[in-house]
């Protein structure tokens, strides 16, 4: 690298990262502090949703994908379940008849 590039690199202002650290901490700690006083319901919620789905269709527990993003104002819980298609279901005669 030439001295000129060095010069510009040394002077290029880097975005400070401490603000980022503070924001991440505020979010994670807000969630952890709640967890200390009452139980975190998210794991239970997830298990119950999966159990309800399993009551109606035979699902492969290995094909349940869960992702959570805890936010400051809002958290999102995404549950993705591979439901077997009609071809994979055991054939049953039409109920009406």
């Amino acid at each position: 690298m030439s001295w000129l590039a060095d010069l510009f690199k040394a002077r290029k202002p880097e975005p400070p990262t401490a603000a980022n650290a503070k924001e991440r901490l505020q979010i994670v700690l807000a969630h952890e502090r709640i967890g200390r006083t009452r139980e975190d319901f998210l794991p239970k919620l997830q298990m119950e949703i999966v159990a309800v789905v399993a009551k109606y269709v035979a699902i492969d527990p290995g094909k349940v994908n869960v992702s959570l993003d805890r936010g400051g104002d809002m958290s999102t819980l995404a549950i993705e379940i591979d439901l077997p298609g009609p071809q994979a279901m055991p054939s049953r005669r039409a109920a009406a008849g």
Binding site: D6, L7, A10, I27, G35, R36, M47
Partner: protein
């Protein structure tokens, strides 16, 4: 079959979690299917260093107690496809970890991973013992400082007597020395233990030397393992260490103080 690696030190705060995150990410970047497990139950931090703290639902204790399946607790990294993280529990106490439970998890992960990296807690109590018990290889993280070197020696003794390999009288755990927070300028001034001194005392093969670097704090602020910062000397040193771990022949770097050029003196540039 996966290779099980424990990152351990005895002493606290020497850089185990920083190193676990960097090395696991580095192995995954090289295409190896890698999972990094946080064994610090009650004081989890790997999730923050890996930047996945907002995505934790289940943890290792939930899996051991049967409350969640392993694949539900694993967090897939969004930056490196071959990497995932198994977080420690933040609320349960250490007794929730059992040898049997951890063994089952490691056995299941072994089936479809190349490497399992275990981030040990400090000390030589239960958590640390469980983190190293199943290891095939150990990365002993040491700072150039008397108490750290002594504790590393202590943990080497534990590896040689209390690991599964030792108990079963199999080939011993392969040991690697990783010196971190090395400050060549202070070494030159005689204020800090020299690399040669540490190597002479511990007498195990050297995997790498990670210099003291400001970029480590920057990396933890943003939740990006420092190895992803290609500009930083610490990132480059971790990348070299991963290369050596995988058998590449790479010279050790960053062992001498950087000679400050005119411009960095003028503008006060510091070690990245």
């Amino acid at each position: 079959m996966a290779e099980i690696i424990v990152v351990t030190s005895g002493k606290g705060g020497v850089g185990k979690t920083t190193s676990s995150a960097a090395i696991a990410t580095g192995l995954a970047q090289r295409g190896k299917k890698t999972v990094v497990i946080d064994f610090d139950v009650g004081l989890r931090n790997l999730d923050l260093i890996m930047g996945v703290e907002r995505r934790v639902v289940f943890d290792i204790v939930n899996v051991i107690s049967g409350e969640a399946r392993l694949n539900q607790a694993l967090i897939k990294d969004k930056r490196v496809e071959t990497l995932s993280i198994l977080p420690a529990s933040q609320t349960r106490d250490k007794d929730a970890l059992t040898k049997e439970g951890v063994g089952k998890i490691i056995e299941e992960l072994s089936k479809d991973h190349d490497f399992i990296v275990c981030d040990s807690p400090a000390g030589i109590e239960k958590g640390a013992l469980l983190a190293l018990y199943f290891a095939d290889q150990a990365i002993v993280v040491t700072n150039p400082e008397v108490s750290s070197v002594r504790d590393s020696d202590r943990i080497l003794g534990v590896l040689q007597s209390k690991s599964k390999r030792a108990e079963e009288k199999r080939e011993p755990v392969r040991e690697h020395l990783l010196v971190t927070r090395y400050d060549p300028a202070r070494v030159e001034r005689g204020e800090m233990l020299k690399l040669e001194d540490i190597r002479e005392i511990l007498a195990i093969p050297l995997l790498g030397v990670i210099p003291e670097s400001e970029s480590v704090l920057k990396a933890s602020n943003t939740g990006n393992p420092v190895i992803m910062d290609a500009e930083s000397v610490a990132g480059q040193a971790y990348k070299d260490a991963v290369g050596r771990f995988l058998g590449d022949k790479i010279e050790h770097r960053f062992l001498e103080p950087t000679k400050k050029g005119l411009f960095s003196r003028l503008f006060g540039g510091r070690a990245a």
